[in-house]
Amino acid sequence: MADDDPVNGTSDENSEKSQQKKQAKYDSGAADLEKVTDYAEEKEISNQNVANAISAIGDRRNQAALEKQAREKELLKVSIRKEDVDLIVKEMEISRPKAERTLRENHGNVVNALTSLTN
């Protein structure tokens, strides 16, 4: 268990608690709210098959991650011009990453990218 960890179980909840304490005077519901941040021991489950299940999940997850990576890669392959990104950022007042992404999604066509952003 995490007991020897320097910053343990309740650490993050404590700061919240002291904050709620000062409200306790006025709120009758504060007692219930207090419980929200109480530390409770995690319930354990025991099973021998956990390992098998875990490995299956790990594999699937990797599959999903791979697919996503491939998609991102495909997008990254699209070449875009810096001036186009600048124009989009200036005209539409959006962040650079978003401008770049929209441009890539539109295969680098700045007119289409701008049009889609006006929708």
Partner: protein, 864 residues
């Protein structure tokens, strides 16, 4: 424990005691132990101890020292995960979530499998909706602690939120598989099953969802939710009979739930109105005490059948004295025929009650007489009825009769106030409410209503004093209402300030409302751990989804709209420097007058100074009072937000960018409101962002293509394009050209304006926009434009004449939007409006408008 500077056993034991003390909130002890380590010259710069000391200090409210110690600790031990973790916790308690995430990531660099840090990180990720990051962290947690329940649940939820239902379900399946073997069926297990069902339903596989529910029905203890879900799924899968049977059982269980009846009708596939009326009348016999069958049938009945039903319904309510009868029936008023029937009936009751004390003269022989109050409720109903139909005089007549009959009924005064409000007289309206409020000062509803009406009459101080009767003592009402997140009050306050031209004050109120929304979003933090532990996952996911669209709430919309309007106004006419303003006025004054003026100014200045000094003193007193109340209490870790200073707010350098901050949430969350896009246009028009103007127009066009205000946007857009085309980037021009083709038939503003006016001949709102454009495009057309918006037969020519639009026209005339030399036209327009709306304040001669509100016996002086 990896650390670049390990402590010897004795000190290490002390360090562990610091941690223990921190966990048990014995902060003083923690500081003591820290001191013991740090007083040893060998370890006085020990990083982890310094960091922990800082964290402990933070819990005692000594924030500045806390930062100092934690930073010093970190500098002394940059490779310690403890120091980074502590720094993250500190940032987190300060709500700097992005910074905190960075700290946690650094901590994980030095200890990548630290469960506690991973947990803290996952909480921040879900709070910030970094869903993919959340999923990855939950994956690591599952790998590290596969025997813990929360590991599985958290991982499943992460997939659910990413709408990856397949993975979410397979993880839940695996997990439940193990649970079932334990035969441990409790409430939490039941909730988990219902959550699983929710995920299946959202994945779209309703058949599977139904099968799942049926399989586990005996393990689900929330029987009502189970049955409602079963009934709904069967309905969606078109298992009509089964669904009907289930809804029948649900109605048996609770015959007051209107949804059950509506779903039942769907299951029975009743579409003809007459069938539906019959359906309801059957249930009326079955459940004689239930309201829905009686009320809902009125929606579908018509003609004589409606008359018979509504007659019975109204008689019962009037005889019993049900105040909200009108509110209950109001939704029927969409149908003109029904309005007539109701009116005839109510007037008939009046005649018969006056004659024979019964609702009908024909049944004089049998049955007991109606109570004396029946006629009062009929008056009350008719007053509201005629008010709704905008027949102010009749409405007032009935309410006066009612008040004469029973001068002590509070509802009557509220209604009288409302009639006056609708008639455009906020002062008289507030007086009525004040009277109502004085009749029962312990009634908080009336108290709030009265305050609201006072704000509508721009009486802010009075409203605050009224509210003070219910707010906590010792704090000013304004402060207390802010603390309690009383948004309706703050928004109405902002609007009143806006009307009074106190723009800084208005902005302050709007920002306060905005902060409430931020706070509500902050408040979800606790639920990430709580809900996961209590297994209330359906509610948890519901909460997350609610928080995602929180600023789509009408309360936010209203406050944001006010803020944006104020910022636009401040951009158009910035507040002048006070001194400069005075200089300007003095230019064409005779020396003697100038001297007088100077004297006056000096006096005013002195007075203002005195007042502000007094205010400061009061503030100091209040603060002291406040502190003494809270003595001993830690002014804990709530981050101190910048104080909102009205004058500063009103003199911002970039009003438009500030407006955009309020606008952005609306653009994503209130896209279906045309006002969002019209305001966006106004902002971007002033920023000269042509494509964003186009964006606003396109979106507005989608919501309501024929909205009058949109027309003016189109015209201004066309002009902007025409004037500045040469400066556009070629790609931008291309976008504009192709988009305009699909939106507009012509590029000539004059033609466009004519087409628009021809299309909306009966709308005064359209005429106003068209007229303004007409004058702007060609000043020679002033006369035509004026005749368009202020014809002598205005109420005949247009079908949407009301106080609102006439006030707007008057404002345009006054502001010279139709040019100068319009005085005579304006005078006759105002005279005509006064005839149409005799109560409306906007058209009364100015002398009458500025009547000072009487000081009232109910207003008590503030206790401060």
């Amino acid at each position: 424990m990896p650390s670049s500077n390990p402590l010897p056993p004795k000190e290490n034991a002390l360090f562990k005691r610091i941690l223990k003390s921190y966990e048990h909130k014995q902060y003083k002890n923690g500081l003591k132990f820290a001191k013991q380590i740090l007083s040893n010259p060998k370890y006085q710069e020990h990083g982890e101890t310094l960091a922990m000391k800082g964290l402990t200090l933070n819990c005692l409210g000594r924030k500045e020292e806390a930062y100092e110690y934690v930073r010093r600790g970190l500098r002394n031990d940059l490779k310690s995960h403890v120091c980074w973790h502590v720094y993250g916790l500190l940032q987190r308690s300060d709500k700097k979530y992005d910074e905190a995430i960075k700290c946690y990531r650094n901590a994980l660099k030095w200890d990548k499998d630290n469960i506690q840090i991973l947990r803290d990180l996952s909480l921040l990720q879900i709070q910030m909706r970094d869903l993919e990051g959340y999923r990855d962290t939950r994956y690591q947690l599952l790998m590290l602690r596969p025997t813990q329940r929360a590991s599985w649940i958290g991982y499943a939820v992460s997939f659910h939120l990413l709408e990856d239902y397949k993975n979410a379900l397979s993880i839940l399946d695996t997990f439940l598989d193990q649970q079932q073997r334990l035969n441990n069926f409790d409430y939490e297990h039941s909730e988990l099953l219902l959550y699983q069902n929710m995920v299946i339903q959202e994945s779209g596989d309703l058949k599977q969802a139904l099968k799942h529910l049926e399989t586990f029905s005996d393990q689900i203890v929330d029987k009502l939710t189970l049955k409602e879900n079963l009934a709904d799924l069967n309905l969606k899968l078109e298992n009509w009979e089964r669904s009907e049977q289930l809804y029948e059982e649900l109605i048996q269980r609770n015959p007051e739930n209107t949804i059950y009846y509506e779903k039942m009708i769907e299951a029975k596939r009743l579409t003809k109105d007459s069938d539906i009326v019959e359906f309801y009348s059957n249930y009326d016999i079955k459940f004689p005490r239930a309201m829905p069958p009686k009320r809902l049938s009125l929606n579908y009945a018509s003609g004589d059948q409606f008359k018979a039903l509504v007659d019975k319904y109204m008689q019962k309510a009037l005889s019993k004295g049900v105040p909200p009868l009108f509110v209950d029936l109001r939704s029927l008023y969409r149908d003109q025929q029904k309005v007539q029937i109701i009116q005839d009936l109510a007037l008939g009751y009046l005649t018969s009650l006056n004659k024979v004390n019964k609702f009908s003269e024909t049944e004089t022989s049998n049955g007991p007489k109606e109570p004396a109050s029946a006629i009062l409720w009929v008056y009350y109903y008719l007053a509201q009825h005629f008010d709704y139909l905008n027949q102010t005089e009749k409405a007032l007549e009935y309410i006066e009769t009612a008040i004469h009959h029973t001068p002590t009924l509070i509802e009557l005064f509220v209604t009288k106030g409302r009639i006056n409000k609708h008639a455009g007289d906020p002062i008289e309206a507030y007086r009525c409410l004040d009277e109502a409020q004085a009749m029962d000062t312990a009634d908080r509803y009336i108290n709030s209503k009265c305050a609201k009406y006072m704000l509508r009459a721009n009486l802010i101080k009075e409203a605050e004093d009224t509210c003070a009767k219910f707010t906590r003592e010792g704090v000013s009402a304004m402060e207390n209402l802010n603390e309690m997140q009383c948004m309706w009050f703050q928004t109405e306050c902002a609007l009143a300030y806006q009307r009074l031209g106190k723009f800084g004050e208005a902005l302050k109120k709007c920002h306060e409302v905005d902060r409430h929304f931020s706070e509500i979003i902050e408040d979800q933090f606790d639920f990430h751990t709580y809900c996961m532990r209590k297994m209330t996952l359906r509610s948890y996911v519901g909460l997350l989804r609610l928080e995602d669209v929180l600023r789509g709430h009408p309360f936010y919309f209203k406050a944001a709209k006010c803020a944006i309007e104020v910022y636009l106004h401040l951009f158009d006419s910035p507040l002048k420097n006070e001194n400069a303003e005075q200089e300007m006025n003095t230019e064409n004054l005779a020396p003697s007058e100038l001297k007088k003026l100077r004297n006056k100014q000096r006096k005013a200045k002195k007075k203002a100074e005195q007042e502000s000094a007094q205010a400061r003193e009061a503030q100091v007193k209040r603060d002291q009072h406040h502190k003494s109340r809270q003595q001993g209490d830690v002014e804990a870790d709530a981050p101190q937000l910048d104080e909102l200073i009205p004058d500063k707010l009103a003199r911002v350098d970039d009003p438009l960018d500030n407006a955009i901050k309020f606008l952005q949430p609306l653009q994503t969350l209130a896209r279906d409101q045309i006002d969002t896009h019209l305001m966006a246009f106004e902002v971007y028009y002033r920023k000269r962002k042509i494509l964003l103007m186009l964006q606003s127009i396109k979106r507005a066009h989608q919501v309501d293509a024929s909205h009058p205000k949109l027309h003016s946007c189109f015209i201004r857009f066309l002009q902007e394009v025409k004037e500045n085309q040469h400066t556009f980037d070629p790609s931008v021009s291309q976008v504009i050209t192709s988009e305009m083709k699909s939106l507009l038939t012509t590029k000539d503003p004059k033609v466009l304006n004519k087409e628009f006016l021809d299309r909306h001949k009966r709308s005064l709102r359209a005429a106003l926009e068209g007229g303004l454009v007409m004058y702007k495009l060609d000043e020679k057309s002033q006369k035509d434009a004026l005749n368009l918006v202020t014809p002598s037969n205005i109420e005949v020519k247009y079908q949407d004449v009301d106080i609102e639009i006439c006030t707007e026209i008057l404002k345009c005339l006054r502001n010279g939007l139709f040019g100068t030399n319009v005085q005579s036209q304006m005078d006759s327009f105002v005279a005509h409006c006064r005839k149409l709306f005799p109560h409306a304040e906007a058209f009364k001669p100015p002398r009458e408008v500025t009547v000072q509100p009487q000081t009232n016996h109910v207003i008590e002086s503030d206790s401060n």
